[in-house]
Symmetry: C2
Subunit: 173 residues, 2 copies
DNA sequence: TATAATCGTTAACCTAGGTTAAAAAAATGA
DNA sequence: TCATTTTTTTAACCTAGGTTAACGATTATA
């Protein structure tokens, strides 16, 4: 029994329309979500409404706000970029399964380790690379990204404005 | 049995001089380290030797390169800012303990969850805040940081140059 | 204690990226 | 299809932060 099969067996399924929010910054929402279909963005909004994109999610990806799971409230929002179908399972249930089943606990550790690797990578890119380097790296890793995600959203994921990304794209040489 | 007590029981202890490296970028080093004494920095160096600081470590903190634990090599270096004493335990041993002891697996999940929260926070700061906001937030969270860490290193942790940090500090108003 | 190394500050100048605004291009919807 | 909204581009101007270099203040080390 691993995480995916637990969610598939015990999770509840829900469909979301394009532009709808699965949860919003500030919500108390201690569920773990698994994307079955669709494309989503996890994003922060500041007091002026300016958006910053933490990550994009595709079929097979899972997400939760770790702050919310630990008793706090969601530090970001989860928004559908196209119609989406998700499964959700409460963190309590996952934790309970992990506390009673060794094999399952091990698969959760694997999941958290791969999450750690991704976040380590993201921290590296934001700390050490220029916006242009981050953009090139993204294109290398996901050459088809612009078929799924608008350039505006790619810019907000890279931590720059859409104007700046357009400039980078059309830069001479 | 939790992670800390496992490391204390089975880990091997080693002392390091100021400015020495526990491991370096590129090393194959699949150990998890626990800081008993001292202060360290986890940092990246680019091809020009420019340094970027991922995090500072103090007594009680633990660290490993998740890339290295997953069969790769260390994506960053671990450098002592003052004489330090660390315990180390191989990831194999930790993983084996987790795979045979439910209580221990659960404590590893807690550890990874708190790591996830920290990294989520760091991502937020690098993505959404200006250097000045990051500096103010750091001072709020760690008012005594400058007793332990030089301003040069604080700047490299914030993702700016020492010159820029000096400017921020002395900015009018 | 003297000498060297590192640290922090300041200044001058430069560049990446932000802001605003307008217009063209593309996608969406009635 | 036509109208509306959203996306992308471009331009002008601005600002935060980078770079280099010099100098004084600290801190280490012979």
């Amino acid at each position: 029994m691993n995480f995916i099969s637990l969610v598939k067996q015990f999770g509840s399924s829900q469909c979301y329309k394009k532009k709808s929010y699965v949860f919003s910054q500030g919500d108390k929402d201690s569920y773990i979500y698994l994307v079955l279909e669709g494309v989503l963005k996890a994003c922060y909004y500041d007091k002026d409404g300016k958006e910053y994109i933490k990550s994009f999610l595709f079929s097979g990806d899972s997400i939760a706000s770790s702050q919310a799971l630990s008793g706090g409230s969601c530090s970001f929002s989860l928004c559908c970029l196209k119609e989406a179908k998700l499964l959700k399972l409460s963190y309590q249930q996952v934790r309970q399964a992990a506390d009673t089943n060794l094999e399952f606990a091990s698969s959760i550790i694997d999941l958290l380790m791969s999450f750690a690797m991704k976040k380590e990578q993201r921290e590296f890119e934001l700390l050490c690379l220029s916006a242009e380097q981050r953009y090139k790296k993204l294109l290398t890793k996901s050459p088809n990204i612009s078929e799924q995600i608008t350039q505006n959203d790619i810019a907000r994921y890279l931590g720059i404005t859409p104007v700046a990304l357009s400039r980078i794209k059309h830069k001479p040489r």
